[in-house]
Amino acid sequence: MSQFSSGSLEAKGIHLAFGSNRVLRGIDLNVPAGTTASVIGPSGSGKSTLLRVMNRLIEPDAGDILLDGTSVLKENPDILRRRIGMVFQQFNLFPHKSVGENIAFALRKLRKLPKDQARAEALEQLDLVGLRHKADVRPSTLSGGQQQRVAIARALAMKPEVMFFDEATSALDPELVKGVLALMTDLAQGGMTMVVVTHEMGFSRNVSDTVTFMDAGVVVESGPPGQIFDAPQTDRLQRFLSDVL
């Protein structure tokens, strides 16, 4: 039983070029509802760009994106993004708003909740990430790990059907990584549909249902973690794994 109203996500034949730089060259990614797909690969392989194309922060040149089986390219992108939560490497909390207001603000403006209800829901979300007591301070007073947990709470408060994590632990001090990964694991096990771009091979192997290895804008290999990590088929993946493990 899922505690989230998760949807499936599918990317088909995504192409994207910035001028002559072809960043994505025919990417396919299929994430069934309630599963976690991790995307690994060297820097510059197009992983983060793929996330931004799938919630249309960047419009693809070609291909299709299906959320819950329906193409989203004709939908209003602002509405689409409310259905997909996104967590960034640099947290990107709003520094001029309190921790609680970082969450409540979007609930008021986008989900049109009345003020006290938005506040109550924000506190509830903060409770889930163990930071209710920080609701009234500015984000800059929190540690990186705490800020990232607030960012996750902010995304979850919108009740998304899918969550994107863009190297969510890369900017954290080593001792803070664990707490954020534990929270992400809880979400995955709670049945959230997740796409996780990560350098955390342990998380990728233990938590995700499928692993996709990207290099130079193409999917080189994709499959269950056991296959990808224990029986890599291609040279490129073997080389990558021997570099990072």
Partner: protein, 258 residues
């Protein structure tokens, strides 16, 4: 010693200063404030519009903002004030029956200050991390609301000191309005000083005007410094919890010997 006495009388004839004070208080100060504040407000609104046009994705809007800014920042203020007042004064009279060039003075000061304020806002807005816009958009805010509620407030906060400096410059530049020939009730501080100096053949009225300007600008300058310091230390205090002891000590430790 005669020279010193002469100079003293030329600049500090207290009787003349005392005589000019009432009209400075009653006419000059209000007019200076009206000119500076009204063109400050209009200039700020126009400046924000220019800044948003300057960073817009529409190339025509960017081009217009760029051209406007280049022209009004590139011209001497006195030239703009004269050209606007003498050029558009008759048009204004035609349509509204207003004969005074005073509104045109306000318009000219607004146009000039908006070019500077636009650049101040633009630099502030552009200094906000791109991740802020991305995060707001990822939540589901459109471009406009993201800018209005997330990016612009952060950018404006950063440039408040520069904005205040611009207002101080406006108080001083309002003196240039004397060139367009306003009525005696519309004279600002400088012009009252100048007229009285011409009548008395003594420079003390200028000193009186100077005292008024300094009484306005010096407190504002210190207010700017105070705001600036508060914005900085406010941030430092926010971070204080996170600063490692050796990081905090570095200033006295390594720095002192370096």
């Amino acid at each position: 010693m005669d020279y010193l006495t002469n100079l003293g009388e030329t600049f500090f004839d207290w009787k003349i200063i005392g005589d000019v004070l009432p009209s400075m208080f009653a006419v000059g100060l209000p007019n200076t404030l009206v000119l500076a504040i009204s063109s400050g407000i209009i200039g700020t609104m126009l400046g924000m519009l220019l800044a948003l046009m300057g960073i817009s994705r529409n190339p025509v809007a960017r081009w217009i903002a760029r051209g406007y800014t280049d022209i009004f920042r590139g011209l001497p203020a006195i030239l703009t004030i004269l050209a606007i007042s003498l050029g558009f004064g008759p048009v204004l009279r035609e349509f509204t029956g207003i004969t005074s060039p005073y509104p045109m003075g306000v318009a000219a000061l607004s146009l000039i200050s908006s070019a500077y304020i636009g650049e101040i806002f633009r630099s502030g807005i552009q200094s906000v991390d791109k991740g802020q816009l991305e995060a707001a958009r990822a939540l589901g805010f459109g471009y406009g609301p993201s800018m209005r509620m997330v990016v612009v407030p952060q950018g404006v906060r950063r440039v408040l000191p520069a904005l205040m400096n611009q207002f101080i410059a406006l108080i001083k530049d309002s003196s240039l309005v004397f060139t367009i020939g306003v009525t005696s009730r519309e004279r600002e501080l400088f012009q009252i000083g100048q007229d009285t100096a011409a009548n008395t053949g003594n420079l003390s009225p200028y000193v009186a005007a100077a005292i008024f300007y300094l009484a306005l600008t010096i407190p504002l300058t210190h207010l700017v410094n105070w705001i600036d310091a508060r914005l900085r230390t406010g941030r430092a205090q926010d971070r204080a919890e996170k600063i490692e002891p050796d990081e905090a000590a570095a200033v006295v430790g390594k720095g002192a010997h370096g």
